[in-house]
């Protein structure tokens, strides 16, 4: 029988931050989720540049938000979108956790693991042009920081005085969920009390161009942006590109209880793996064998059975891989038809934020668990026939709704045949006696 985890090994989420299409803070993001509102719009730049896809889900940061989290010098020097998104989301998460700057003694037990995709691609051309024109000196000091994938982690750690692990992970579209899995491992091993985890991605034509060239962006709904992102649908025709950043403060339960922290949810466990680009896996698609194994490993790590999962926040990008993903969930959980858990896809509202997607979707998962609701999965009224053969259509959350579910599974899959899955559960305040035993 598996040994029960101690309070120091149990991991809870005590802070959240987000910059997503249609929302640049937690209250507006929660409103978007509850309203089931699409943030996908026509993108004139992509159309002008001859992309097949003329729609996108872009993030905007108001001057007010920028002024709150970045000083004037940082705003002038750090011009790349991904780093700005990351810093805003990470500092929001820290602020909402109510943590004070660690003491010198505790500093080494606070860390940051913040992943990234191509964080500097929107400013790279300016730098390359200066170099090619023989003006290397004009690069100044900021270009390195704007290109370094680990900049977000380094800047946040410097600002907050965190002196434990400060690093960046990269696993394509699985990056955000992988960051969370890496964080829980570190806390469980007793190597940290607090870890700020998350991920970020840039946005714009230079980032999205290669995906348009691959033919994986949606081209069939340029006339109807809000109907374009169609996870689970028979008419799914590719993903809608997006960007942003999500951030979560992970903390050992004992540390969180001791300081009376706000707790959004508990992370029961997680797993990361690869399909080895075998059994149907490739550079661009995850192997079904690997996906199912990753979900099963996460359940095992979380000490829950497939039947205890109430809701699935799918990776579900609105491509042909959605049907494969649903088959994998069904196989790994041992459930189908009406017994399949409730399932929704955030990408139907805010597109696919690539390396940022996992962490933004985890923030959404934590908000749904705490707020007892499930957000709508838009454009899923015409289920893909392979999917309708696996689950009953009532399992799909078509409108945002209150729901007293307890446990949620979140998975992300990325190019390179890499997978990550996390199991989260609703946090209930223990009774007085239990609280005492937690603290003791």
């Amino acid at each position: 029988m598996l040994k029960r985890l101690s309070e120091a090994q149990r991991v809870v989420v005590t802070g959240l931050g987000v910059v997503a299409p249609g929302a640049s803070d937690i209250p507006s993001f929660e409103r978007l989720l509850r309203q089931g509102r699409s943030a996908i719009q026509h993108d004139p730049e992509l159309e002008r540049l001859g992309f097949g896809c003329h729609i996108s889900a872009r993030c905007t940061l108001s001057q007010e938000v920028l002024d709150r989290y970045l000083d004037a010098l940082a705003q002038r020097r750090l011009r790349n979108a991904a780093l700005r998104f990351a810093l805003v989301a990470a500092l929001q998460a820290y602020e909402s956790s109510g943590l004070a700057e660690p003491t010198d003694k505790a500093r080494a037990r606070f860390g940051v693991i913040f992943g990234a995709g191509l964080p500097g691609i929107d400013v790279l051309r300016d730098g390359l042009r200066d170099i090619d024109d023989g003006r290397v000196k004009r690069l100044g000091s900021a270009m390195i920081q704007m290109q370094m994938p680990s900049s977000a982690a380094a800047i946040v750690a410097g600002k907050l005085g965190f002196a434990g692990q400060v690093s960046c992970n990269a696993a394509a579209c699985a990056t955000g969920t992988e960051a969370l899995c890496l964080g829980i491992e570190r806390i469980r091993w007793g190597l940290a009390d607090v870890l700020l985890v998350g991920s970020c991605e840039s946005q714009g034509a230079h980032l999205w161009g290669p995906f348009d060239a691959l033919g994986v962006l949606c081209r069939a709904f340029n006339h109807a942006p809000e109907r374009a992102s169609r996870p689970l649908s028979g008419q799914a025709a590719g993903f809608v590109p997006g960007g942003g950043a999500g951030a979560l403060v992970l903390e050992s339960l004992s540390h969180a209880l001791e300081r009376g922290a706000p707790i959004y949810c508990e992370v029961l466990g997680g797993a990361v793996n690869s399909g080895g680009q075998r059994d149907g896996g490739s550079m661009t698609a995850s192997s079904p064998v690997g996906i199912a194994r990753c979900i099963r490993s996460a359940l095992e790590d979380a000490r829950v059975t497939g039947h205890e999962v109430d809701a699935i926040a799918g990776h579900l990008t609105a491509t042909a891989n959605d049907a494969i993903e649903v088959e994998c969930w069904s196989q790994a959980l041992g459930r189908s038809g009406r017994s399949f858990p409730r399932i929704n896809a955030l990408k139907s509202l805010i597109g696919h934020g690539l390396s940022a997607s996992g962490s933004i979707e985890l923030v959404a998962a934590a908000l749904q668990l705490r707020g007892r609701f499930l957000h709508a999965s838009l454009n899923s009224d015409d289920l893909h026939p392979r999917i309708s053969g696996i689950l009953h259509e009532d399992c799909i959350v078509r409108e945002s709704q209150g729901s007293s579910f307890q446990t949620l599974a979140k998975a992300s899959f990325g190019f390179g045949d890499v997978n990550a899955c996390a199991i989260l559960t609703r946090w209930e305040l223990p009774s007085c006696n239990e609280t005492k035993s937690f603290i003791n």
Binding site: D71, A72, L73, R76, R77, R138, G140, S141, A142
Partner: protein, 91 residues
Amino acid sequence: MQRDEILHQLEGIIKPYLPGDSADPILLSEDADLVLQLGVSSMHMIDIILEIEEDFNIEFSSSDTYNMSRVGDVVDLIQQKTKSTTQAEGN
């Protein structure tokens, strides 16, 4: 250019790079060491030099940048460079 004129313009360039968030204007002393006393990071010195070059329309050599410890050193260099630029234009 007069020294006080250069110093005033320099204050506007350097202020954003000083530690702290004060919105108050600063008064630079010519004796102040940029790194040791004012707390400018060596990384930000690179950006300050670029801004000075742009604002005063001058160019520093590598050896010039090694001689920029105090505010007064920077003023000296700017004065020399702007003088030679003006003379060159006059010719």
